[in-house]
């Protein structure tokens, strides 16, 4: 699905953000990327859809070499990658529905964009997603009137409106409180699994990353220092990624985890709706 080979990025300032990063995402799983600030997590995510231009390396999405594309073909491949941001990045003065439909911009022409007339199936898909993320009835609310958690639900929905083959998620919960963070991660992971969409998720919260990820990649100084299943992240691994620290509290928090997604997920949707009402 996604194959990254010897990807490097040196910023014009001389900072080396990524050094020879290679990994492959074969299955529709949730991969979280952890690492200290400045390790290159954001750069890595942004290189994949070329919001940041890498210095060297290759990125293949199925059989498309992303780094060789011209602007036109880049737009086509960006349609296949949904992106979710820390600061939500909704268009503030537009309504929730308009923000969701912006996920379809890659598929509609200029006049439809100008008149904000989208194909009925897109509108139907948007209403279905709103209900799924617990925002039924919010379609005409302006984005700047929403709370953080609500905004991120809209952000997730916008990305999913693209019906992407890959989700790029940059610190989805860093601006949210712990409870909302868990709700948002739960929605994100459930939807990714439901739709069989692989997701690359940058996180700085190790506990949250471990409890929701299928696989964890650890970045340090622009290099991959760990790549493995979430349950193999031990104190030694964290020391390798972040440096010396007492990790016992972080690890215990993970071991005591009770509400992992998948465990008792039969009432997943109900709990979602309950939380959104709370």
């Amino acid at each position: 699905m996604l194959k990254i080979s010897s990807l490097s990025k040196v910023y014009p300032t001389g900072t080396t953000a990524l050094k020879n990063v290679s990994f492959t995402v074969e299955e529709p799983k949730v991969v979280t990327i952890i690492g200290p600030s400045g390790a290159g997590k954001s750069t890595l995510i942004r290189c994949i859809n070329r919001l940041v231009e890498p210095t060297s390396g290759t990125i293949m999405l199925d059989d498309v070499g992303i780094l060789a594309l011209n602007r036109r073909d880049l737009r086509k491949v960006r349609r296949r990658m949904g992106m979710i941001f820390q600061e939500y990045n909704l268009v503030e003065r537009l309504t929730v529905m308009e923000n969701l439909l912006s996920g379809r911009l890659g598929y509609v022409g200029f006049w439809r964009t100008y008149r904000r007339v989208f194909p009925p199936k897109d509108v139907a898909a948007a209403f279905a997603l709103l209900e799924r993320v617990g925002l039924s009835g919010y379609q005409s609310t302006r984005a700047d009137a929403l709370s953080g958690g609500e905004r991120q639900r809209v952000g997730i929905s916008r990305a999913l409106m693209q019906q992407p083959d890959l989700l790029l998620v940059d610190e989805p919960t860093a601006s949210l409180d712990p409870k909302t963070s868990r709700q948002i991660m739960r929605i994100l992971v459930e939807l990714a699994h439901e739709r069989g969409t692989p997701a690359l998720v940058n996180m700085h919260d190790v506990g949250l990353a471990q409890s929701f990820a299928d696989r964890v990649i650890g970045l340090r100084g622009g290099e991959i220092v760990f790549d493995g299943p979430a349950d193999r992240v031990t104190a030694n691994v964290l020391t390798e990624i972040y440096g010396e620290e007492d990790w016992s509290t972080t690890i215990r928090q993970v071991e005591n985890e009770t509400d992992k997604p998948g465990k008792g997920s039969s009432d997943g949707k109900d709990s979602l709706v309950r939380e959104s009402l709370a």
């Binding site: 859809n49 919001l51 960006r78 890659g106």
Partner: protein
């Protein structure tokens, strides 16, 4: 006991004084003295003639007396001039609004490549270099007396003003929104329509309405150098010493500006 005695011990007390912009005492006082000397010199060389100032006062009184009462008898001329000014202001604002959109977009560094940005900014600086009166004199020389020169002058001024405001407004947009819409695979025109436009539109309209209000005031001024409108009528009345008619024109301008200001405030309140 030890600490108390050491705090009151003058010899060991740490020194502190305020930090000045210019630390060197000689430089500081020298600059102050220089400024005073320059002020005295420039006042001395200006050659303010107190007798001429004294002579002017009775002339001013005479002028005021001749202004009263204002003469509205030539209301036809007055009305025509006023209408021309308003038309000039409206036309210039409208054309300026339209021209400002491409110029403003090209002047926003977060949207366009560097060369385009620099070209647009150079145009903006150039068009703002000269005061409207100077631009009006140029256009009067080129296109002759009348409202055409006035409208062109106001178009130049409105375009540069509105596009500068628009460019700055776009540059102040949170970068994340642009990034997010780009990431969906939207084209550049779609980015403008779906992301830039909703965020920048209210302020753009507000600035444009403010500019309409400003254009009404400016249209009365550019007329004085012959670029049409009520200002041209005013200049003519002054040169013929028809001071009572001049007062009538001035009163008309005052009320016109009042109405313009009121209208502009009202519209901008509605936009909020």
């Amino acid at each position: 006991m030890m600490t108390a005695s050491s705090l009151t011990d003058r010899g060991d007390a740490p020194q502190w004084h305020r930090i000045r912009t210019i630390e060197n005492r000689w430089a500081r006082h020298g600059l102050t003295a220089l400024a005073v000397v320059y002020l005295a010199w420039s006042l001395a060389t200006l050659d303010i003639n107190w007798t001429r100032l004294g002579d002017g006062l009775p002339r001013a009184a005479n002028m005021v007396l001749r202004m009263l009462p204002p003469d509205f008898s030539r209301w036809g001329l007055l009305f025509k001039g006023t209408l021309e000014s308003v038309q000039m202001a409206l036309a210039a604002s409208f054309v300026g609004m339209i021209l400002a959109v491409p110029v403003g977009i090209c002047g926003a560094s977060n949207l366009v490549p560097k060369p385009v940005y620099l070209a647009a900014r150079a145009f903006l600086i150039l068009s703002r270099t000269f005061h409207e009166i100077i631009v009006a004199i140029f256009f009067v020389k080129i296109f002759g007396f009348g409202p055409l020169a006035g409208v062109l002058t106001l178009i130049v001024a409105s375009t540069s003003f509105i596009s500068k405001m628009l460019a700055e407004d776009i540059e102040n947009m949170p970068p994340g929104q642009l990034e997010a819409i780009r990431a969906t695979g939207a084209s550049f025109p779609q980015l403008l329509i779906y992301c830039v436009s909703p965020q920048a539109l209210p302020r753009y309209l507000g600035v444009s309405i403010y500019r309409l209000d400003a254009n009404i005031r400016h249209s009365t001024v550019v007329g004085i150098v012959g670029a049409g409108g009520i200002g041209q009528v005013l200049a003519a009345s002054f040169s013929r010493y028809d001071y009572d008619f001049s007062l009538a024109i001035l009163l008309t301008i005052v009320s016109l500006v009042f109405v313009g200001e009121f209208f502009s405030n009202w519209v901008r309140n509605q936009l909020r």
